[in-house]
Amino acid sequence: MIYQTYENGALTTMAKALYQEERAIKRLDGWFLAKETEMLTEEKYTGCTPEIKKAHLLCEVLKAIPLSLSENAIFVGAQRDAFAKSYALINPSFTVEGFSGYCDPLAIYNDIEPNEEFSAERIDRVRTYTSKTKMVEMLNKTYDKAETYTKEVIFFVEQVTGHVIPDFRYALKHGVDALIKEAEAKDGEFYEAAAIALSGVKILIDRYLELIKEQKNTCNEARKAQLNLLETSLKNIRSNGASNLYEALQLYLLLWEIMCMEQAPNPYAFSVGNADRIFEPYRGELSREDAAELFKHFLVFYNVGDRSWAISQNVLVGGRDMEGNDLTSTMTYAIMDAYYDMNLPQPILSVKLHKNTPKKLYEEMGRFFFSAGVLTPSLFNDDALFEVLKNNGVDEKDIPDYSVAGCQEPLIMGKDNANTTNSWLNLPKVLEMMLTGGYSAITGEKLMDAEDYSLTNFRDVYYRVLDKVIDQMTESANGASCALSELKVPFLSVFMGGLEYGADMRDTKVQGTKYNGSGCLVHGLTVLADSFIAMDKFAEKYPDGKEMLVDAIKNNFVGYEELRSFLLSCPKFGNNIAEVDDEAREIALRVSKMLRDRKNYLGNPFRPDFSSPSTHLTYGYWVGATPDGRESRGMLGYGVDPLYGEASNGLGFRMLSNMKLPFEEFNGGYASHLGIDPKYFKGQDYYEKGEEFHKHIIDPLFFNEMKEGVSPFYLYVNVTTPETLRKVLANPEKYAPSGVYIMRIHGTFVNFLDLSPAIQEDIIARLDLHSTSLC
């Protein structure tokens, strides 16, 4: 049907035109209209329970938001109205110095520029309304209490919106009516709220049908045929399940739109999940090429405004089942084709690998890794992650459904609310607290109490200080989660197990999802390991030198240049040196245990996640000089990677150090990046190079038979050189004529040209090709 309506190639042309239309959008005001609508209609629902009120307010928003339908669109729907122009890293005004230690829920109102339609007074009214909500009040209390810890980022906490993976499969198969019926058949406020929220799908579809009807009056015959197809499909999925790929993609996008609107503004890092498995059952007779064309429109949907502001939305393909059978399908390759041809900044692509992943998949990935300026997928090791998840209590039948929320956090699709970015821990700053007795080496301010130590017992003391910090951090993190629970999410909860558990997924008393936890992003692992070893060496050389070391650190090594040279010459992580690699392993083990021993608001463990999404820069900025010889305010190591410049013996040695880490502990995830010089790959074409990448990088790292314990399970790469990136910056018209040059930072793609200068420099620095050279 779809290909009787659209001429060959037309879908791709339209998708590319649609993306250009999106990139021309400079203002994002929909989220503000949503908040304003809630403010203006709330009174109608006085007396309702919070869940039911929220469901009604969602419907009010869906009735009120302005809708549009481009002549290049083959689907209706947009997530644009849920996002603001906020995300720091792609904001030109982002600076490393700008971190405030405070997640101000009202700051978003600074992201909308007043104009004739949205006057300063109008914006201020909604800001004031928001400021009086219970959520903001609770959050402020939490931040106030933790202020001395967060102002220079000993730790940081935040309320986590987005960051889960809804399971829309049941809705795609059986339709929205089936869900409403199920909700209505059960008693309880949550179920009532769920049914109301689900009716929002019909509200939205009916409004789009009206719009289509209007457009049909004025469009040409060819467009009318397209709109007829859209109309027929919408009428079907208004109640029923999808009957083909076109309808499945359409229904998925509408559910996504409402899910995001429910959490507007800025519910970052929702994930599509295992997209090839979700959509393959609907592909029917469509060829790989035809399915790819349809999927291109799906991809355009995820790009919001001029810089693709809805960041970190993950699409996964590939992987295996519990028996080890490969799960790639025609849809896997269709999705990859769509990605390659469109090369958009969002959504991000991740590929799940296992030891029996077909060679074809690696070969086809070659074009992503070895085409300049083209997106590269993140890589996950199913064999290892399956073990990690199993060891952390995930049922076997759920394990293959793990997906990735945000950058690299593994969560079970539709069953896991992990509050992934709830808390952020800065290990080197804690070391600074111990060394200085709780005084900042940056500002001199007293930030906390810390017990005295000696050069022989410093490890024990460090862990005691850390214990105290983690106590404070988890208390604050739970405070932020409880504050957020004031904002109910009945619509999303339906797709997170709510109809089974009968509770909102944010409920702090009844667990509304099968799995629940809270995340902690652990920063500076390798700086701490390098520092501990340097302190050992220092103590051997200067057994009575404690005061000298502290003075050197407080003075950023000014006057202590010789000492700094000595500290820099001490063994560093990333060079396959046992004593420092073992230290990093020990720290990772202990910190993971300390976190897992802490419970969140529902009594579930915190999940260690050794990642640092650009916060290795912003947090490093608040850490004074460290005993490894790192200068004050310098960056921390990225994720579990060696500190930039400290691993100089090439990729093999770096991999060997990395492989000693206890990956079985990292059930919250971890981050690791390799900048790889393309010159090492000699294959004749992308396919051969893809297979070389498999043999030289992936097999030794992920599927190494000599690795004891759980293998590494995550990696992202940028295959380029600093010289290439500097050329792109100097002459974007020549090297990126489309205005888009995709790079990876953390789990997400970015248009390199959209990034703030600080982040562009970080990407260039962290390519760190000495650490990854292959000869």
Binding site: G652, F653, L656, K695, H696, P700, L774, C775
Partner: protein
């Protein structure tokens, strides 16, 4: 053992993924050398004892995939033959595959080979006068070693750096000389001139037009084909 560089490389320094140690000091002065910093023993980075090196190699075993192991190169790996043999023997005892890359000038090469699983030897020129002019050494021992190796029947991978102005127009002479000996277990490889090391020489670099063209390479391939010599590309 004086090591000025180490790192992993796949398949270009022997089979599989290999840990490559560059031993400082060389008895040749090849004008195109891409590691000139390794010519002098005084330019050393790290001193390794036998035990340290073997322990490191053992810790690297997870990366010796596809039949990999340890390769010694230079500088010239065989300058300190006794020391090298001790380390090679210890590596073999630890179950690690060994390889060396050599310019073939060591009188003790055949002795060393008792501990070498995979041998890569340069054969830069058959004409002693030209060889001496460009490398500082004439080639009688190299030829003796080549003869001994071919007659021993052991595997050997002979590498010929092709450099315009030095040997790139002498395809016929190479093929004729090399085919005088039994080559059933020998593979050859042509290494086309590159300038990866040029920057290290700074202004002292003397090769001005070293790149070889397709015709020159084809002439080598044809001459070797004609003489039944097998060549590979790694």
């Amino acid at each position: 053992m004086q090591i000025f560089q180490k790192g992993f490389n796949f398949s270009q320094d022997g089979p599989g993924n290999r840990l490559v140690y560059h031993i400082a000091g060389c008895n040749m002065r090849c004008l195109w050398c891409s590691n000139p910093e390794g010519m002098q023993e005084s330019n050393t980075h790290t001193t390794y004892s036998k035990d340290t090196l073997v322990a490191e190699a053992i810790s690297c075993k997870p990366l010796f995939f596809d039949g990999g192991g340890v390769t010694f190169t230079g500088g010239e790996a065989t300058l300190h033959a006794e020391e090298l043999m001790e380390v090679l023997q210890a590596l073999k005892e630890a179950g690690i595959h060994t390889a060396i890359e050599t310019n073939g000038t060591s009188p003790k090469l055949m002795e060393i080979l008792a501990y070498v699983d995979y041998l890569m030897m340069d054969f830069k020129h058959y004409d002693d006068a030209i060889l001496k002019k460009f490398t500082g050494l004439e080639g009688s021992i190299i030829k003796e070693n080549y003869a001994a190796i071919t007659q021993s029947g052991r595997q050997c991978h002979i590498r010929i750096p092709l450099i315009n102005g030095f040997n790139a127009d002498h395809a016929q002479g190479f093929a004729e000389f090399l085919s005088k000996f039994p080559t059933d277990n020998i593979v050859f490889e042509f290494l086309k001139y590159h300038e990866f090391g040029k920057e290290k020489w700074q202004s002292a670099y003397q090769i001005t037009d070293g790149f070889v063209n397709e015709e020159q390479l084809a002439a080598f391939q044809q001459a070797f084909d004609k003489h039944g010599l097998i060549y590979i590309e790694t």
